[in-house]
Symmetry: C2
């Protein structure tokens, strides 16, 4: 069975997609079989792979609301060992459509089940909201990473995110854990950033031993530094490892992937 | 009658709120009477003013769905010449509640009308979506500023924003114009940034003379540089002019305000 990780933060523009694409690529380069699922109607994830969408290519939308869609047909190969399921703008309608169905929170999990066994790791790129799509991701996930900026405004809204995680862990998915805060676009030299990181660390320390889903959550190391190469790569349809494998952004995502490989598949 | 400007971009985390707060503060320091309206359920705008919300303080939510709420009671003083109407998380429910009513897109405009005459300028801080709240803002606005990053991913989604503006200008608000692209968190030395700015400028040039609502839209000068002071200020409940009036972020927002004063109120 694959490890399933949701990258979730209802705050927009923090680095969910950049992290899903580049962590996914890093894990694949480390030999893991990886599936990425784009749950954002803005469908930015595929920009990182330079794969032209065939007009007939089924999307996550078809998978969720279609009848008898073959999950394997939704899969697009991005790189060696790296597959993804693309999103489309129609996904914005799913919030309404799925809401009509009973047990709608399990739709994603059930739809992906037929192909899940082909992978070591599945990463779920969530939209900037805590609606039906994100709840589907949380229902399917083993773990949650929270990409965020070390900015004061980013601390607010964390509470709402944890409320949603708590709700899902109480009912739909008792095994759900928030295991990592993923610092994105990090500016090492900023005193403000350091103060915010200390505040995050202090909050995480208070959760230790509480038995809550984020008990034991850590700040993933290293923070992913702000590095314009990470913003440039998708404009060329490339992961950071294609575009600038020696740059700090590539190094940071690879380091995070290495640490997680040791944690999830200890040798 | 006041000039009404909506700061809109459905992409999250680009700088809508930072710009509304600091442009608002700049215009007030230039002697204009300014009202800021927070339309985002995440209610970040008030963080920039350090004003403690009284438990009994009515919000934009009450103004929109309440019965017979006195618009003047929703107003909170932020600084000399700078007032604001605060948001609350319940505003997230408005999308559903207002959608039941006929003529729901005019709700904001009508609710604010009794106090509008007290101001020279009203700025509307939009949420990261193109739903009912943003459409209410577009229906009330004379002009739209689009805060955005000079990143490749930011170019996508611009089309969807303009579609929504077009729809509102066709029916509800024929006077609506998109007059400015507001470059936020701008990194001057980035070649990628310059390439994206050139692309934005080229697209804007193509709209010239088309008669579309964004005919004549310009990139506002100067771009607002990335400056950590702008992220720090709200953690102290301060505008950038309180916190670091000499920093580049303050200078950039003040320059933009000066240019707009000359355009809107030519001496
Ligand atoms: N470490 C970094 N250094 C520089 N730019 C970055 C970095 N990480 C992300 N970016 C840029 O920041 C912007 C937002 O990133 P991204 O799209 O990954 O965020 P997101 O959380 O997925 O946004 P959304 O909420 O809209 O889905 C993009 O233009 C991206 O290229
Ligand atoms: N010029 C800048 N330099 C540095 N940081 C900035 C700048 N402008 C904005 N920020 C920071 O970037 C983050 C996002 O900014 P802001 O909240 O204003 O965006 P927004 O578009 O209003 O987001 P949302 O879509 O969630 O409403 C905040 O942490 C803010 O402090
Ligand atoms: Mg994204
Ligand atoms: Mg905002």
């Amino acid at each position: 069975l694959p490890k399933v990780v949701a990258l979730l933060n209802q705050k927009g523009g923090v680095g969910k997609t950049t992290s899903t694409a580049n962590l996914g690529a890093a894990f694949a380069r480390l030999g893991k079989r990886v599936l990425l699922i784009d749950l954002d109607p803005q469908s930015n994830l595929s920009m990182h792979f330079g794969v032209e969408a065939e007009p007939t290519q089924p999307s996550v939308y078809d998978l969720l609301v279609g009848d008898g869609i073959d999950a394997a047909s939704v899969i697009v190969k991005a790189r060696e060992g790296l597959d993804f399921m693309p999103a489309v703008t129609e996904l914005a309608l799913v919030e309404g459509e799925l809401a009509q169905q009973p047990d709608m929170q399990r739709t994603l999990e059930c739809a992906v089940a037929p192909v899940a066994g082909d992978y070591d790791l599945i990463l779920l790129d969530c939209p900037p909201s805590l609606g039906v799509l994100s709840v589907n991701a949380l229902t399917m996930a083993d773990e949650v990473f929270v990409p965020m900026l070390a900015h004061y405004l980013a601390l607010r809204g964390l509470e709402k995110l944890l409320e949603t995680v708590h709700m899902v862990s109480q009912g739909l998915n008792p095994r759900l854990r928030v295991t990592g805060v993923l610092l994105c676009q990090h500016e090492q030299q900023s005193l403000h950033g350091r103060a915010v990181v200390d505040e995050i660390a202090a909050q995480l320390a208070r959760y230790e031993g509480t038995g809550l889903p984020w008990d034991g959550c850590a700040i993933l190391q290293p923070p992913v530094r702000r590095n314009i190469k990470l913003a440039e790569a998708p404009s060329f349809g490339q992961t950071i490892f294609d575009y600038a494998p020696q740059c700090p952004g590539a190094g940071d995502y690879m380091q995070i992937a290495l640490h997680q490989v040791e944690r999830w598949w200890p040798s």
